[in-house]
């Protein structure tokens, strides 16, 4: 038999090398162009969104591609992280050195998103079935709407929290942190130098990719993949399904929280209503285009789909048209290796006879007893 199996260990090494090379080349090219002043301000504005969406896509891939559960509310965790982070950034963080302030903001954003991951995941992932898609979708809309009616501020009397404008009063001079549906604006950037902020984004992307690849190439990752491939068999070898589903889901939420923090610190504005199912679906499209369980694919798809709409702004009439064409082309291109694999598997099945046995095993062996009976009668 021809050796079609390939080498799996080599394959995972290739994935590592390709992923990190991709990120580093992107970083180096941007740095060089940046120092030569060859990047337009529009382009500069896209750098952090590309990092943030790449983190979103890679982390969602952990749930959708590797675990095989559908999540339609990834934007909610981005929003949770962004909001918690910004509240800290604009209050307690104000008098800190900027490096410390950013680090603590990231940690708080990640923790808040992780907490919501627990709140959503624990009740839902204990059951098998497709509840996760519905619950995440609903949660995303709920969080956005609740935040849009939240009023939060701090003055000398302490913390004020209200859910209607009427009962929300601050001392004169004190600045509210959340003002209901009004976007939080004027958030300070990570650094006045775009290249510094971009490097922070790249570092976080590298952390995300390293976490996901290391997790998936370890005992826990094998358990997660096993659950995706066959829940019953996974149970039979003693894997705790809930534990590993939660592990993937909560980790994914944590990284979405990080993405949310750098995204809003870059944009300087946090508008809750932008973090709805549209955004969640956009990230899902990146995951599907990049390939289920394909980490570098997610990064490339995130970069392209963030970059492309901006690039096409000049051709505004044809924008959506070209966008869809490109989507289709990418999809075909991306599916090509799968087609090749499918063909290989089909030929392997024809050659390695019986590869597709009908389900349900064998019929009871009556011939044996037929003979026995015959034998007895002959005696």
């Amino acid at each position: 038999m021809a050796k079609k199996g390939g080498n799996n260990r080599k394959k995972s090494t290739r994935t590592y090398i390709f992923s990190f090379a991709l990120i580093l080349v992107f970083w180096a090219v941007v740095e060089i162009l940046g120092h030569m002043n060859m990047l337009s301000s529009k382009m500069l504005g896209l750098l952090i969104p590309i990092c943030a969406y790449a983190i979103m896509a890679v982390s969602l891939n952990l749930v959708v591609g590797f675990l095989g559960e559908l999540s339609l509310g990834h934007a909610a965790f981005m929003l949770a992280g962004a909001t918690a982070g910004v509240v800290f950034y604009n209050s307690a963080g104000l008098n800190m050195p900027q490096v410390l302030r950013v680090i603590i903001t990231l940690v708080i954003g990640a923790a808040a998103a992780g907490l919501f991951g627990v709140i959503v995941g624990v009740p839902v992932l204990r059951f098998s079935g497709d509840y996760l898609a519905i619950v995440t979708l609903a949660f995303c809309q709920i969080l956005k709407n609740v935040l849009s009616t939240t009023y939060l501020g701090v003055d000398s009397a302490g913390i004020h929290l209200a859910f209607d404008q009427g009962s929300f009063r601050l001392e004169p001079g004190a600045k509210p942190l959340i003002k209901g549906a009004q976007p939080i604006s004027g958030i300070n950037k990570i650094s006045p130098d775009m290249m510094v902020s971009f490097t922070v984004g790249i570092v976080l992307l590298i952390l995300t990719v390293a976490f996901v690849l290391n997790l998936m190439n370890s005992r826990a990752g094998r358990a997660i993949t096993a659950i995706r491939d066959d829940e019953i068999a996974a149970k039979s070898i003693g894997i705790n399904l809930t534990r590993y589903k939660l592990m993937a889901f909560i980790s994914s939420a944590v990284f979405a929280g990080l993405a949310g923090v750098i995204y809003v610190l870059n944009l300087s504005t946090l508008d809750f209503k932008k973090y709805d199912y549209n955004l969640s679906i956009n990230v899902l499209v990146m995951v599907v285009l990049g390939g289920m369980g394909n980490v570098p694919g997610s990064i490339i798809a995130a970069a392209l789909l963030t970059f492309l709409p901006e690039l096409l702004r000049n051709f505004s009439q044809y924008r959506m048209f070209i966008y869809s064409i490109v989507l289709i082309v990418i999809m075909l291109f991306n599916q090509a290796p799968a087609f090749v694999q499918l063909r290989q598997r089909l030929t392997a099945k024809i050659r390695g006879k019986n590869a597709q046995e009908p389900e349900g095993g064998e019929k009871a062996d009556t011939e044996f007893f037929e003979a026995k009976k015959q034998g007895k009668e002959d005696e």
Partner: protein, 255 residues
């Protein structure tokens, strides 16, 4: 005391009593057979022994531990492993990883060791690789360790499933129709492998099988089920000559 003691085990689905009064006593190092016509309740019995189904009546005691109605996770840790009638491999994973994931609760390390790739991680992974390759070697598929599981031919998929079950160091191995879909050569080879597994690993094996030559040639003790009830029990010779067993297999078409 026996390794496994099953008393008066039963389960009903809605109104249907699929298995009732099921009794079994299994000793370490022996080979047992569970046979019966299609739909007799053999697989259902396996599902109760492995915690997939919660029995409605009866008791299962493994090595002194009551495992009745416990979770599959608990029972797997307690020492029962199984294969499935319709092969259930992790199709997208490599052959090697299928075996390694079988060691999930035997060679362990926390998620963080995996994330930081520390010494514990490398040590345990090396230990698993070695153990997995040794197991694959027993079944003669070590050279295909890097194949994706779904690329293996059918007979080797069955072998891989047994490897995965053995990877959890079971005290009792349950095989649900291991020879199904195999050609006579493969069946013969499988027979040797099953014997070898019993001897080398010194475990008890209980197997469901429709190939009577296979069952009679390999099992020391056989239990026969019909309509969820035991109709015969004993050594291959006495069971195969039992008129009730013959009648059960030849069924209604009494000629």
């Amino acid at each position: 005391m026996a390794l496994l003691e099953v008393t008066n085990l039963g389960i009903s689905f809605g109104g249907l009593q699929a298995v009732s009064g099921f009794e079994l006593e299994i000793e370490s190092g022996h080979l047992y057979g569970l046979i019966g016509p299609n739909g007799a309740g053999k697989t259902t019995a396996f599902n109760m022994l492995t915690g997939m189904y919660v029995p409605s009546q009866g008791n299962i005691v493994l090595d002194g531990v009551d495992i009745t109605g416990k979770s599959p996770e608990f029972i797997s840790k307690a020492g029962i492993a199984r294969t499935f009638q319709n092969i259930r491999l992790f199709k997208g994973m490599s052959v090697l990883d299928n075996v390694k994931v079988g060691m999930h609760n035997r060679v362990t390390y926390s998620m963080w060791h995996g994330i930081f790739r520390d010494g514990v991680f490398r040590d345990r992974e090396r230990q698993m690789d070695k153990k997995a390759m040794d197991l694959l070697d027993v079944f003669g598929i070590a050279d295909k360790a890097d194949y994706v599981a779904s690329q293996l031919p059918y007979g080797e998929q069955r072998k891989l499933e047994i490897c995965r079950a053995l990877a959890s160091d079971p005290k009792l191995l349950l095989l649900d129709e291991p020879a199904a879909g195999m050609n006579p050569n493969e069946t013969l080879e499988l027979r040797e492998t099953v014997r070898k597994v019993r001897d080398d690993f010194n475990i008890a094996i209980l197997l469901i099988e429709h190939d009577m030559k296979f069952v009679m040639g390999i099992c020391e003790e056989i239990t026969v089920l019909e309509y969820g009830k035991i109709i015969a029990h004993g050594d291959p010779e006495s069971v195969s000559n039992d008129p009730r067993v013959i009648a059960a297999y030849l069924g209604g078409d009494d000629d």
